[in-house]
């Protein structure tokens, strides 16, 4: 299967999907190990590292850009992030990590409902396949 989305930050990644049922703020919502620590979040306790993160959008603080960029640097970020609506904060974190460390975490806007929970998902810029 294939979906074409809008590329907010280019890059290539593969992994298994993790679908969040509520928006997440990386600042205050995840720790340095990539674990969701926001006690009010339905997926609290899940680890995002290396996964294809599917969520509606980011939420809250603009410091989320820093937290995501720091996780990309430290190797604890998701492999790719697929959003259902554009959000400037998340791709900004990806852009800064690319500028500083030459690490590219793809950020895509696409309707991701068709992606099965157990699929091995491949993201190449705006092209999502499984």
């Amino acid at each position: 299967m294939i979906i074409h989305g809008r590329t907010l930050h280019p890059g290539t990644a593969s992994g298994t999907p993790i679908r969040l049922t509520a928006p997440l703020s990386f600042w205050g919502g995840t720790d340095n190990e990539g674990r969701i620590v926001d006690a009010h979040h339905p997926q609290c306790g899940e680890v995002l590292t290396g996964r294809i993160l599917l969520m509606e959008s980011g939420r809250g603080s603009s410091s989320a850009s820093s937290v995501l960029a720091e996780q990309i640097r430290a190797g604890t970020a998701p492999a790719a992030i697929i959003l259902s609506r554009p959000d400037p904060i998340i791709p900004l974190g990806a852009l800064i990590a690319a500028e500083l460390y030459d690490l590219n975490l793809p950020v895509v806007v696409a309707s991701y409902d068709a992606i099965p929970a157990d699929a091995l998902v491949q993201v190449t810029d705006g092209r999502i396949t499984w």
Binding site: S61, S62, S63, S65, L92, I96
Partner: protein, 404 residues
Amino acid sequence: MPTLDLTADEEAMLGGRDGGGVALAMRVIVGQARISDAPRLVEITSAHVDSCLYHGQVSLDFAHRLVDLGAQVRVPTTLNVGSTDLVHPGLVRDHELAAAGRELMAAYVELGCTPTFTCAPYQLPNRPAFGEHVAWAESNAIVFANSVLGARTDRYGDFLDVCAAITGRAPYAGLQTPEARRGTVVFDCRPLGEFSDLTYPLLGHHIGSVVGAEIPVLLGIPSEASEDDLKALGAAAASAGGVALFHAVGITPEAPTAVDGLPVRVVDLETLQRVRRELSTVASELDAVSIGTPHASYAECVRLSELLVGPPLQLPFYLSTARATRELLAANGVLQVLEGAGVTVIVDTCTYVTAILSPTWKYVMTNSGKWAHYAPGNINVSAVLGSLTECVASARAGHVVLDA
């Protein structure tokens, strides 16, 4: 999708005419402009930068990259709080965090930013005038600039704020455009009657919690509301939700004179009592008091000094303010009164963003809706919300004392 039109000057910056630092900053601005579907960039007259608060190695790597590439801000740029108090360095318990915080703050000064280190840049001289396009970060400063000053800024945050300062440009999108600034929902606050100083943060928290992406128009805010009252309202609204602009009819410069046709939500006393129960822990035990979030104004510090005349304080009492305000307080003898009464005056940072309060403290009282919202998650305390007089009375008694 609209295409982004750049001027010849902007193309030249992007192409490296002004050096690698400007080119990097312009790549960030252009990237964000494309994501927000901006048709062009807009020239800004000032910036307020929040990136000087330490969030990890990436914070330092980014600032040092800009310094190494020779970047300098091209508009007057103030700095938000950092992770340490440079005037009282002994106050921060975590020495590693304090050292990293200090290094980051110094890097932003090297980029040409003014070392103001305050979250309330609107309390400094030379604040933006009505209609000016600016690029401000820090949610409480953004909502104040847009609502009370009538300047125009979208919500900017880490990295983007300093890139706007270096290029003198921001994406022409969001609250930079007049269309996005119109009020879309009315909050009728007239049933609240007379306002106390605690009404403002409670009302702000309520609006932030329920308003979503709408632009609130407030009816019934008393005409004598001070800038400090509007600061408390805006800060609470911006931390509880994404509020970056509100209009208060008869008070703020862009408020509409007629609100016909807009949906109306009524705010009554019961609503605010519920908000207070949500934000505030019920406790008698108290370990400390922390006020000045956002940074206390000169007038608020003077009011505190007046309330402190009387029996001594039994509990640690913290006041966060700008270093510029502290200098003025010192020149006028107010600082001596505050410190003489046992108040710890903090500048350059704030008690909920760094390690100042003792980790053994469980209950801390504040008059700030924003502090009550963030401190439990950030520094693991339970917050008790009270008015300034309740804060002073409680610090004197050694336990929570509320008026009613």
